[in-house]
Subunit: 362 residues, 2 copies
């Protein structure tokens, strides 16, 4: 069993700590269950160990990856202000999925397979059921990403966090064979096709702006908003971020020999422009085509609240959560494959010689 | 350059954000400098990459480790309430070292070499100089541990953190060859010797109790405390946690062939008993010898403030920050080696058949 340390354990030995020990035991049990649920054959169980252990490769001959020059790929992230909205609506399980999504989608852009995840949960007071709910959400996300929840830390800091408040941080490590690293700066060429995968809404970025823009002042305006959305407001705002790991890894596996996928970007804060331009050469432009996949209604609602189109594009994913730059000859077959894998994939543009700009038409 | 994402970037695009952009640029530059300072030959630089990249093995033939079945070892931790004390005294750089120490010393207990570290810094408002100072401290710690600061995340959340407040989380990944994993439950035997390495004081545990116990009410009582300590109070309270990585890895390297080191424990919250007992078999006891290394004066001060000896032992490291269980025939030579490596190492006890207890004599 990989460890889950808790700074509160120390606290528990203090007199008059007031913590409900049996609730705490229940929490530890639930957390361990949630963790074990994510374990694959590579996780090593070590009683009492101070750290989580995971084999890099599979032991089973059939599954062996035979890494020659494995590169570890690591990312850290939080969920930002979406957390506050989750708190306000008391919907916290989905935040665990968001936390995992933010890191694993980043690690995925290198072409790496996410191996494991660790979390940090800090709170005012350890409320066992809530912590267990958050960790269950993290476990949901890890299973969606096919990675193990290898460890974590729970910290109780009443002087730092207000009652009911907490914060989350997540860390993901993946692995990739060195020569398979996807490096857009080296491989993207003019003529390459840009493919976008649909997001399911806001994902986990832009929530400072969302919280300012959307404040239904009356029951009437809330109803109008929900008519536009076709669902409850909290539902649309707090839907967990999509995790693109499984379809993308399947796609990469089917083009093992050729360098068909040249760059990938996870569309987070900064929108399509910032996130796509950072992974392509400085002497290329992205020409967006006139066609764009349907924009989720939540973005139309935010825009109606007075945010300019330019600002929307700069802050939100606008319906595209993940982007691939691919060799043009394979664009059609990649679109078909991705759609067969359950994604909504669209050809949204083309790479041209230029100077690092994103050009929109029409 | 491995990425450092910042949730505040999104914020910067909002009108009237009020953030000093040039200060922000300075911070990013300082952070990148602090990160590069920790890079070894295994770190891969990737412009614009969404994640940090590090080769598992060295490329240079002379340095090659030739892993056959590498196991990744991961730990996550925070610094707990020590952070609040650092805030109160406006000494935050050392907290970065504490953050690294808490995770790398844990990863080390498996026998693993720490490869890289990632951090999460969340604050009320991004104050570039303070963030840069914290990350410089993290970089100090990473260099002490010989690991790369591969990435991190800075989040600005004014609704979650009070002005000047921040929180820290850290995450470390190491690697070890599978057959070299140190697993006390399998290898510790009655008769084995217990060796303790000196701590330099409180390290990063027990600070909820410290903050309750030590509150000098007058200048006189502060002066009395500092006479006992022989140094300013803040100095003694906030001295960064010792990082045991380099001497321990050297020691392990010199006993490559034989299984001489049977278990290791990082003494954190829970004290010697909790942390040592978790890594040895359930049918063994630890018999502490009468001899104990000098107890740092800070512990005597806390005890004088009314904390019982029993409680002290349960919460603090009491002068021993890291423990090794070793084959008795090698105990003397290991002690000599560790002392030559600059550690203060002491034989503090023996393993005997028993039932998972820590027995103190005299």
């Amino acid at each position: 069993m990989a460890k889950r340390r808790s700074k509160t354990r120390e606290k528990l030995t203090y007199k008059a700590s007031g913590v409900d020990i049996s609730a705490n035991d229940r929490m530890v049990e639930k957390i361990q269950h949630a963790m074990r649920h994510t374990y694959g054959p590579r996780v090593l169980s070590r009683a009492g160990a101070f750290a989580g252990l995971m084999r890099l490769d599979f032991r089973e001959r059939l599954l062996k990856r035979h890494y020659r020059d494995p590169v570890l790929v690591a990312g850290a992230d939080g969920v930002g202000s979406k957390l506050l909205l989750g708190l306000e609506h008391n919907r916290i399980r989905g935040l665990g999925v968001d936390l995992v999504a933010m890191s694993v989608n980043d690690v995925l852009t290198i072409g790496a397979e996410p191996l494991f995840f660790l979390d940090y949960v800090a709170c005012h007071k350890l409320e066992p059921d809530r912590i267990a709910e958050i960790v269950s959400g993290i476990s949901d996300g890890c299973r969606q990403a096919g990675c193990a929840l290898l460890g974590g830390e729970t910290a109780e800091m009443p002087a730092l966090y207000a009652p009911t408040h907490f914060d989350l941080a997540g860390f993901c490590v993946g692995v990739i064979e060195h020569r398979r690293i996807i490096d857009g700066h080296r491989h993207v060429e003019p003529g390459d096709a840009v493919i976008g995968l649909a997001s399911n809404g806001l994902h986990s970025n832009g929530f400072s702006l969302v919280r300012k823009a959307i404040r239904p002042r009356s029951k009437k305006s809330r109803l109008a908003a929900e008519r536009l959305l076709g669902e409850p407001l909290a539902e649309a705002l707090l839907r967990p971020t999509r995790i693109y790991v499984k379809p993308i890894l399947k796609l990469l596996a089917s083009y093992r020999r050729k360098r068909v996928i040249r760059a990938m970007a996870h569309i987070t804060g900064g929108g399509l422009a910032d996130n796509l331009l950072r992974v392509i050469p400085k002497d290329c432009d992205v020409h967006l085509s006139r066609k764009w996949p349907p924009i989720p209604p939540i973005f139309r609602l935010i825009q109606k609240c007075g945010v300019s189109k330019k600002e929307m594009d700069r802050v939100f994913n606008m319906g595209i959560g993940y982007v691939l730059v691919v060799r043009p000859a394979f664009a059609e077959s990649i679109l078909r494959r991705l759609n067969r894998l359950g994604e909504s994939a669209y050809r949204i543009g083309t790479i041209r010689r230029g100077q690092g700009r994103l050009l929109r038409r029409g």
